[in-house]
Amino acid sequence: MLRPIATAWHDRAAWLVILMGLILVFFPHKLRITAMQPLQVALLAPLRLGTTVSRSLRDARTENERLSLLAARLAVANARLESAGQGTAEAPPVSFELIGAPVIGRDVATFEHWLIISRGSLNGVKPGAPVITPDGVCGKVVAAGPHQSLVQTLLAPESRIAVINLRSRVPALARPDRSGRLILEYAPKESDFKPGDTVVTAGLGTVFPKGLRLGEVTSIPDRPDALFKPVAVRPFADVSRVERVFVVSLPPGPQLDTGSVWLENTAAPEVTIPDQPAGQ
């Protein structure tokens, strides 16, 4: 049998609380709004704070993307201006478009030979397009699906990039070694390379336009028996940690098509890779 309720003090107190709620319902509208305002501010403060922080983070992320894109554009423009200033030939004007692309996958063995980016042919990415970061050259697209592309980084064993010393204008061919550095091949023994020199792309191929920053000369090992001068270069772009890259969408033009292709491996034939379903 149910015990009699509303007899003990706590039952009366509970009824009082419910009654207070009912009284509040019948309060004048204006009075209710005015009286509850401070309480509303206090109780909803965490929500407001959360919304503000969330909005700030979203704004910061958008701004970060915009600035990254701007930095990449400026890096390319700066490298080309430096190259034009120190070279003998005038740099041809190049109009290009940068396609920002998050890195969504890596090769599982080294994390730095191959990248998968979440932009594909539907976004304007084509096989053979250079891939850069704000720091410098990162690699090139070797296959493009509708929504994703495969990028061969400059540290992949198959990678070969025609480069030039920005200061002395000595050309060479950059290939990766096994320690995450680049080694310049075919640099003549008497050529002028010094530690600290900046190495940029030479534009001798169909992939990389002239003047993109690649790396810095770190050491020149002394090998008297070698036919060419071995030059070690540290890449500016840290491909093992890069999270976002930019694909350079270059229009077909004389600055790329007329270059010699003997120094640089050409773009891989177009390969269509299946697109992953959304959300994977």
């Binding site: 149910l2 015990r3 309720i5 706590h10 039952d11 107190a13 509970a14 009824w15 609380v17 419910i18 207070m20 709620g21 009912l22 009284i23 509040l24 319902v25 019948f26 309060f27 509208h29 209710r32 709004i33 509850m36 305002q37 309480l39 509303q40 109780l43 909803l44 965490p46 929500l47 959360g50």
Partner: protein, 148 residues
């Protein structure tokens, strides 16, 4: 101390609920019921009143509606739970009754109910979540306690 932790938990649930849309289950109502299954009558009524006050703050034009409804729910559950000895289905019954009370009160004061599909989905989800909520709240706040 445990009651204060329960109030803090209700406030957290309210913050989650306030950011959700009308299709979501009524987490605050579930929280009040689960706390009331273990607390005293006055503590249950106060927990319901606190949760109701928080909900009222999202729409001050109808202040008091949620407060009275959830305080009544808390108190009612605390009183009625003594009628059912370890009956798990009692939680579902309490939840259904509390939902009916809440929707009726909101309709009565003209606070505006969500559309029928949202109302049905939200209520169904609330009922579905009730056993899970009972289990998790009991383990989190009241280990070793038994309902009823």
């Amino acid at each position: 101390m445990r009651t204060f932790v329960a109030l803090a938990l209700l406030y957290l649930v309210f913050l989650v609920q306030a950011g959700a849309n009308q299709w979501w289950p009524d987490l605050v109502l579930l929280g009040v019921i689960m706390v009331s299954l273990h607390e005293s009558r006055i503590a249950s009524a106060l927990a319901g009143a606190f949760a109701g006050l928080c909900l009222d703050m999202t729409n001050p034009a109808f202040t008091g509606t949620h407060l009275a409804t959830l305080a009544a729910t808390g108190y009612g559950v605390a009183v009625l739970r003594t009628l059912f000895y370890r009956a798990r289905w009692a939680t579902l019954l309490f939840t259904a009754m509390a939902l009916s009370l809440k929707w009726a009160a909101l309709a009565l004061v003209g606070a505006g109910l969500p559309g029928l599909p949202a109302l049905v989905v939200s209520s169904a989800l609330t009922l579905l979540l009730a056993p899970l909520a009972e289990l998790s709240v009991a383990r989190l706040l009241y280990p070793g306690w038994q309902t009823a």
